[in-house]
Assembly symmetry: C2
DNA sequence: CTGAAAGCGCTTACAG
DNA sequence: CTGAAAGCGCTTACAG
């Protein structure tokens, strides 16, 4: 059933049928009714490949999500979708695997769908540097900020990872912890991890302390992986009394590992997370964490995008994270460890 | 940059360019090389709208997922994708909101993409009954089985929800629990919840007991909602010593609520879940649950689909769930409550 | 091995 | 208000 069939059945031309179907103003209301009835009766579904092939001007915004199962992104998407629709666009979400190249995907999407703009959720700075110049519609990179990325059609938005990392460490130091371990992503390639890590170093510095890099353990953003990472870390450094995990998912994996090893969290070892995803407050102990302002990130992202669509210049926006004290961090009590000396 | 531009640049016809780009056998290798070089040099990306508009025979399988943030589905998708590719198809995932009609989506997808088959992850039996006849390619409904759905192009696959529900209740009864609460979805519309509920009733029956429906509390498949549901349930029935939650997400929300109310899980109240999603073993206490055989479900789904694509008849497949005892259920110790009588 | 032509299903100036 | 025609970017018989 195509528009042609409807034309035949209704004895109108395809042009008129098309106009009826698309709420075109220049059409007789009776004609329109007749045509719409026939379309409905025959369960007509327009072929959007054909529509898009014609329509150079899709009124859409595409979200490209790198990493299908990132709990932080999942909920951010809902917020983004809300603001996209509020701005009068249609939102399409495109999930790609971490190993895929988001810029290649964006190029394809541009060729096919001609969206008005793209929001990247996660992205590899390297991929951007290499090929972003081939994209010429407004884009927002969310959540990562890199000064190296300087294009007239790219805005960046992110939580202040540097400040967040520093705050996390200072918070633990203030609680009396001195043996602090850190688990997080690849600090040589993952932008936000790198910044959080630098923040950590700053936090130590401000207290006149330095961080022993052997207390850092790599983990992907995954329950199982962080579970194993922490086990390795604690075996190497049983003196640790607090752990900063660069995501809540990691904090949960870490806490579970610690409890399985026989430690109490937070009594024996405190754990602090990052992100503020929903599940962090359903875990026991409830995870103390830094909340990324999801709604603000989403709102601002779409503001940036629409203003660029309207010809404005791009911008870089940094948003502050907020500490939420829950149950997984406590003050470190110095156990006096003095051996009796004669 | 289109195929036409490449034709102009290469001084070949569009037909030849198309053949070069598509690995067509009837083409001179030198010609092909030249054309491919030009395509690469110009970052040519084919417009897949145009391709699909032509290609009546896409070699694809579409997964339509109802409910974007269902943790059980998320991991099932990965398995499905694996088997789809293994069978030589390309897999596309289409997320729709719970309120959207999956059959309408399928009809549109058929019109646009002409896939070889569709896998539905979740679905409303009512929608199927109303409009599925309009779909004429092989489909698999996963995970729900309804005898009312009898079409030559629809297979169903599901875990044995009825048996699972019965086993859950019998397990709790065997552990000595007699005051058992249940939280789950809408048992009048959600097929799998309905079956799990019927299973529960059977479980009680086998022990010569009956279930007081006031001990059932509705919850959506969501942390927050189950958190609140359980609070309502326990306020109404403080005598409860064990809860069956129809999903692990609910079990986690429930356990958190109980602990926040001051109960110990499982010492005061045991909680058993359903699904076997990853996070259930990272929660504290680790959730005792019934594992749905995800890999088997995925494998069998694609087997069913491909055999239908090859002209075979549809089938209904029921797979057994498996109890995994972890930490959230313990034996109920009868506290003697005898008042001294004179 | 290559090219000219038709056509996939739709939209949209243009003419009336 | 309506229709005939061109065209979006591609593929594929058909002819040579």
């Amino acid at each position: 059933m195509t528009i042609k069939d409807i034309a035949r059945l209704s004895r109108y031309s395809v042009s008129t049928v098309s106009r009826a179907l698309n709420d075109h103003p220049d059409i007789n209301q009776d004609t329109k009714k007749k045509i719409l009835k026939i379309a409905r009766d025959n369960n007509f579904v327009p072929n959007s490949n054909a529509i898009r092939l014609k329509a150079f001007e899709e009124n859409s915004v595409v979200i490209i999500v790198k990493g299908e199962f990132n709990l932080f992104f999942s909920s951010l998407i809902e917020h983004l979708q809300f603001y996209i629709e509020k701005s009068g666009f249609r939102g399409f979400t495109n999930y790609i695997h971490t190993s895929e190249n988001e810029i290649q995907t964006a190029i394809r999407v541009c060729a096919e769908q001609k969206p008005k703009g793209i929001v990247f959720l996660g992205g590899d700075i390297e991929n951007f540097r290499k090929d972003f110049e081939r994209i010429n519609i407004p884009c927002v990179l969310c959540t990562a900020i890199s000064l190296e990325l300087d294009y007239p059609n790219l805005s960046c938005i992110s939580a202040d990872d540097l400040a967040g990392g520093a705050m996390a460490i200072k918070f633990l130091l203030e609680k009396g912890h001195r043996n602090i371990g850190i688990i997080g992503g690849d600090i040589s390639t993952e932008c936000s991890c790198q910044l959080r890590y630098e923040g950590c170093l700053k936090g130590f510095e401000e207290y006149g302390l330095s961080f022993d890099t052997d207390l850092y353990e790599y983990s992907s953003f995954d329950f199982n992986d962080s579970y194993n990472s922490v086990k390795r870390l604690i075996k190497r450094h049983p003196e640790i009394t607090a752990i900063f995990s660069m995501s809540d998912v990691m904090a949960i994996g870490a806490s579970t590992a610690l409890m399985d090893m026989g430690y109490s969290v937070p009594e024996d070892i405190s754990v602090i997370g990052f992100d503020g995803i929903e599940i962090s407050k359903f875990f026991k102990p409830k995870i103390t964490t830094f909340i990324q302002p999801q709604d603000k990130i989403a709102k601002k992202s779409i503001e940036l995008l629409t203003s660029m669509i309207n010809g404005k210049k791009p911008a870089r926006v940094l948003l502050q994270t907020k500490l939420i004290e829950r149950e997984s961090v406590v003050e470190h009590m110095e156990v006096s460890n003095v051996s009796v000396q004669f």
